[in-house]
Amino acid sequence: MWVLERVAALRAREDRVGPAAARGFGVFSLGLGLAELLAPGALKGALGLRHPSDEVVRAAYGAREFGVGAALLAQPHRPEWMWARVAGDALDIATLIAGDRSDNPKRTTLRSALAGMLAITAADVALALRLSRPDPATGLFGRELPGVARVRGAAGMMGEHLTKKLHLTKKAHLTKKAHLAKKVLPAAVLLARRARLNDKRVLAGGGAALVLGAAAVTLAVLNAKKTKGGTSDMPQKGAIERAVTVNMPRQALYAQWRDFARAPRWMEIVESVSETGEGHHWVVRGPGDKRIEYDTVITEDRPGEVLAWESVKGATVRSTNRLEFRDAPGGRGTEIHATMTYHPPGGPLGKVAALVTQKAPELQVRRDLRRFKQLMETGEIATTEGPGAAPSGRDKVKQ
């Protein structure tokens, strides 16, 4: 049933997202390819790759990248070009891994590039898979090579069998996957960033995990239901919910939040919040420390109980936020229940970017609640920042 459902869904929807995304990747490929072609030395220097032949190779890579980009733009429906991108990604990853030597002075940059490459590969694989789905009109895998089609057909049937066997509906299946990926990916990214990636096995294992995780997230995001409407018609589905218990009375905690200007103290990516008259103006740091500004209005305000706000119509970041303050059972302080939805600039890819760069609201809301709790209960926020406080002299991750 799973395959049929999927075909029906495709038919109903007319896959527009896939080719659109493929076009996006096409433009990206063109740009990167051009950069590699025109300045192969710069990239080589930046990554600390040392062989003289690297320059020639890099230029060849650039030509390949450029070619694939052009092909993608011309024929965004054809999965072959996406698969070509995937093959190219594999080559790039292999090159980067080869350059991951202890004597490479640019090792950190190279590894960042590698991490980025892995994420991009994941997205490429996801999109290629999506484009390789059976033709909605014929139900055949007409856009693939015949052998691949057969294998995929068999895999699809096995998937259907498994789904049945596990009594999972397709939706539950996907939600579960997405849920898992959302939980595991950020931790994996953080681990990868912090753990000492000193041996190739770890790197390869971590890379594979990252690719799988990122692929799952990308798939989940691409499969997410599209909703129409403005800021006032926020889908409550997919809302992020987090709770924390603070050893203090409700009123005091509410008062802290109500004074929005204090938020940057515990909200990591928030730089400032100021009054605008109707509401508040937020300045936050997005992926790549890009500054994002938007306005919000308060939608519900019941002192000591509820505080809710949402972005104004047309804001760069569309979000709704609701905090509920409840007495914890047995007089054990206050439970703060936070619910939020958000749509970052850049759509689905923006969400993936936010996750990978640790700027995703699902991470932030949890960490911010914890920081708030620490501040309230102890008068300070635990940190390993500061001279000598971070254990490692060389790597002080901004927290």
Partner: protein, 396 residues
């Protein structure tokens, strides 16, 4: 300042790193006078603990003189002042959260920085307290095998030591003494009980002493290093060398066919010995095949303990182990207790016992070295465990 830093498996170096400073209001900075290498540091040394990072300063057993006091500690009644000598518990605790109020200090909600808690959440379900120098999952704080150390919540953890008491006598209040004590407490010993202790390292040896102090009639200590077994025998324990006897058979014999009332696994994730289960663990652990532990001692303890007995686990485990005899836990009706030590709960009481002479601590120290010789200390403690029972480093 100079500090002993981790750079990977079996790679410890003495580096010059930035001096610590007061960062948060309740911080204090101490000038370290003595710091020890812990058995759990060896797990890190062996590369068994996830989320270490090259350059991390190790060390969670340290004491010294208060050099600087944050504004949140200054003038607080009972809090350390500049110039005080203090021992520093290895668990960092805020003293005011739900868990600290229940004296579950090693479960403190607030001492692990928020992003680090995410890592612990993923691996453990919830994040425990931050620890000194023991991976980024558990705080990412710089440790005390250094000339100076920043101590968060300086008003909660550090215990002031009276003048005239030698460092060596009180240094182990930071970890291994309370850990051995809590292990015995977790074993729920009743007067007349027989207690078996796997591992005669520092924690095992303190557990032996503690078990007797709590009324155990008999303590049986298990190891394979003759010198360590000798030390256990010095405190009145009967000893078993697992290279000479079959441990479970011997224990059953020695307890009249009933089994010990309580068992303590003071070995943890890197059991020694060539039993088939341990060899299999070794392979899967090395190849990272979903296994991070070698819990041979725990398996044996669970099978050896009498029906309705208690299993206490002070030994360090970090991730996921395999083939734990769950059937024995259920069908024999066992109680399993564990935990990182709630050091702050015990320091005052144990200090008093040391000063009274009830507990002997200095017997353990086999080597005293300078901080610069730290890497040598690690190597010896790892590879010559019969000679090295405890290494104490003196930064100056």
């Amino acid at each position: 300042m100079r500090a002993l830093t981790w750079h990977g498996k079996h790679d410890m170096r003495v580096d010059t790193v930035p001096d610590p400073e007061i960062v948060n209001p309740r911080d204090i900075v101490i000038k370290v006078t003595s710091t020890a290498i812990c058995g759990s540091d060896l797990h890190a040394y062996d590369g068994m603990i996830p989320t270490f990072q090259a350059g991390d300063v190790l060390g969670h057993e340290f004491m010294g003189i208060v050099e600087e006091v944050g504004p949140g500690v200054k003038g607080k009644p009972g809090a350390p002042k500049k110039g005080d000598r203090v021992i520093v518990p290895f668990t960092i605790a805020c003293g005011s959260c739900f868990f600290c109020e229940k004296t579950l200090f090693s479960c403190c909600d607030n001492s692990n920085p928020a992003p680090n808690q995410d890592i612990a959440d993923a691996l453990l379900g919830f994040s425990p307290a931050g620890l000194f120098g023991y991976s980024h999952m558990l705080g990412g704080y710089a440790g005390g095998q250094a000339e100076y150390a920043r101590v968060p919540f300086g008003d909660v953890g550090p215990q002031i030591i009276p003048d005239g008491v030698d460092d060596d006598k009180v240094l182990f209040l930071t970890d291994i003494l309370p850990t051995g004590w809590m292990a015995a407490e977790n074993a729920q010993i009743e007067p007349g009980d027989t207690v078996a202790v796997w591992g005669c390292g520092p924690v095992g040896l303190f557990a032996v002493q503690s078990a007797f102090l709590m009324g155990a009639a008999e303590v049986i200590a298990i190891d394979h290093y003759p010198h360590r077994l000798e030390l256990a025998a010095r405190f009145g324990a009967k000893t078993l060398n697992f290279h000479e006897v079959k441990v479970r058979e011997a224990l059953t014999e020695m307890t009249g066919g009933r089994g010990p009332d309580s068992v303590i696994d003071a070995v943890g994730m890197e059991a020694h010995g060539f039993s088939p289960d341990n060899l299999l663990d070794f392979v899967t652990q090395e190849l990272k095949l979903g296994n991070t532990e070698r819990p041979h001692a725990l398996r044996e303890a669970i099978l050896a303990v009498r029906k309705g007995g208690t299993v206490s686990v002070p030994g360090v485990y970090g991730g996921f182990g395999q083939n734990i005899p769950l059937g024995a836990i259920v069908n024999k009706g066992l109680t399993l207790k564990s935990g990182q030590t709630h050091v702050q709960r015990y320091t005052a009481k144990l200090l008093e016992m040391i000063l009274e002479g009830t507990i002997d601590t200095t017997f353990l120290i086999s080597h005293r070295m300078s901080l610069e010789d730290g890497p040598k200390g690690y190597k010896g403690f790892k590879s010559e465990q019969d000679k090295y029972t405890k290494v104490v480093l003196k930064p100056r």
